[in-house]
């Protein structure tokens, strides 16, 4: 399953251009979509789920063109977890999933089998008889993810699936997505770099409706090499001066002063040393470069 996006533009009625002539290829496996709030990630995903129609450009899913006539064929292949979804508050977890599975056209017996499997995988099995309104935010998020997986879609689109989850649950969900991505495509949108670092090989960075970067994780991390510096200053006053001059990605109190992580193409005029860049550094480097 591969998705090809060419010259995609989405403009809202109020004139705001949410996606601006974007091109992207999404291959098999987990593909990360990274970007700050308002970058256009959700709009992009809404186009891929056929909820939104672009003003121009083409999208193809395994060679099938996104057009009114093909929507039904495309929709069958997709599973979607929107960023904000409130599942039926008066139904129990089991009822809610059975209901959504039936609507998706999954056969009753098969649906129950899948529900058992995914509830087990998401540690929700003991909560299956609880009403949706009794669940915590993180649990609701997990049920939302299970409903997206029920029809075993070839193309799974998940918008911030780890929001509201504790660290252990986040790891579990990430692993579930990795397992699920075998022979399938998973588009994993988030602004938590750590989640992508743990799951994806390929990713795209979105910024103001455009893709700043699309490629491998490794190459992205390499972009930041030689641009990250660690400096130590004795007090807050000096730290503030540096902040005015350079992009600081982290600030930490250490013994004898403050340790700053500085992003700069050249060595800052300070007592500092170069350190290997992380994915987060690379992401900030890219978006920072674009903002200049």
């Amino acid at each position: 399953m591969s998705i090809h996006i060419e010259d995609l533009t989405v403009r809202f009625k109020n004139g705001v251009t949410a996606i601006d002539h974007a091109d992207l290829d999404i291959p098999n496996g987990i593909f990360g979509l990274l970007g700050e709030n308002g970058a256009g990630k959700t709009t992009f995903m809404r186009v891929l789920t056929t909820v939104l129609k672009p003003v121009s450009g083409t999208v193809t899913l395994d060679g099938i063109l996104y057009s009114e006539g093909n929507y039904e064929k495309i929709q069958k292949k997709i599973g979607y977890l929107p960023q904000e979804i409130e599942l039926y508050p008066n139904l129990t977890v089991q009822e809610c999933l059975e209901y959504m599975g039936a609507l998706a056209g999954v056969e009753k017996k098969e649906c129950r089998k899948r529900i058992d499997y995914y509830l087990e995988k998401t540690s929700l099995i003991e909560h299956r008889k609880k009403k949706m309104k009794q669940l915590s935010g993180g649990m609701k998020r997990r049920v939302g993810l299970v409903q997206a997986l029920l029809n075993e879609p070839e193309f799974l689109i998940v918008d911030e699936p780890t929001t509201g989850l504790d660290p252990e649950e986040r790891i579990r969900i990430r692993n579930l997505l990795v397992d699920f991505s075998e022979n399938r495509t998973v588009l994993f949108s988030t602004h938590v770099v750590e989640d992508l670092a743990a799951t994806c090989n390929q990713l795209a960075i979105m910024h103001k409706g455009r893709f700043l970067y699309a490629g491998s994780m490794k190459n992205l991390a390499e972009e930041a090499q030689g641009k990250i510096w660690i400096c130590k200053v004795s007090d807050e006053e000096k730290a503030r001066k540096i902040e005015g001059k350079y992009r600081i990605t982290s600030k930490q109190y250490v013994e004898g002063g403050l340790q700053l992580r500085v992003l700069s193409d050249t060595q800052p005029e300070l007592d500092c040393m170069s350190i290997p860049g992380t994915l987060e550094d690379a992401y900030i480097y890219f978006t920072n470069k674009c903002n200049k």
Binding site: T50, Q75, Y80, P82, E86, Y99, G105
Partner: protein
């Protein structure tokens, strides 16, 4: 069906609809039994519109509609139809209960022209069934078109005011949506009010036929 029932009949809806009927039967004064039907029909149209306006729109406000869009259209339509049916059956039962409550609370007497109380109830049952059918579908359709429950209820209210008025009666006559309410209750042989109800059925079916298109475009 059990799940649809839980979705469209939460406790608060059952509570407000039941309270509405009890209060109506307590405060709306009637002397003769042939006044009960016309005392119930117009308020019940409003109750039905309010009750059914969120049939599908709740999917939009909760963002579930974004997931629903991926489901086969036939299943989505079937789900909406089931929801409308469940709500309308509930309201129909409530309207029958309301009729009985008028007898209990108001103790009306039979009008000299009334031939049969049973026949009178059958007429009422027919009329209220059509009223509930029509206003339920209308409210759901308008809410879906506007993608907003309140716009749906508001539009229904405008239609209600226009038709449930002296002007509406003069303009539409026997073809009025509330032809049963405006009929001459002392002339039991006059059944021209059935025209208005037939019109309600026709409009209701047209809206049902248009539903798949509306779901595709606005759902």
């Amino acid at each position: 069906m059990k799940k649809e029932l839980k979705i469209v009949l939460p406790f608060y809806k059952i509570a407000y609809a039941s309270s509405f009927v009890v209060i109506l039967s307590l405060i709306r004064g009637v002397i003769f039994t042939n006044e009960i039907g016309l005392s119930i029909e117009p308020p019940f149209a409003i109750l039905t519109a309010t009750f059914c306006a969120d049939t599908y729109v709740q999917e939009i406000t909760s963002k579930r509609s974004e997931v629903h869009r991926l489901y086969p259209i036939k299943r989505r339509i079937s789900s909406i139809m089931q929801r409308i049916m469940i709500q309308e059956i509930f309201l129909l039962l409530l309207s029958v209960l309301g009729y009985g409550l008028f007898f209990t609370f108001q103790k009306p007497i039979t009008h000299p022209v009334t031939e049969s109380e049973l026949l009178q109830f059958i007429s009422y049952f027919l009329a209220i069934t059509v009223t509930i059918f029509f206003w339920g579908i209308l409210a759901n359709t308008l809410s879906m078109l506007f993608r907003n429950m309140w716009m749906g209820i508001g539009s229904c209210l405008l239609i209600w005011v226009a038709t449930n008025s002296t002007g509406g009666d003069k303009l539409f006559g026997a073809w009025n949506l509330f032809s049963y309410t405006f009929r001459n209750i002392e002339n039991t042989a006059d059944i021209t009010w059935l025209y208005g109800k037939a019109l309600c059925i026709c409009i209701g079916f047209v809206l049902l036929i248009a539903l798949p298109k509306i779901v595709r475009k606005r759902g």
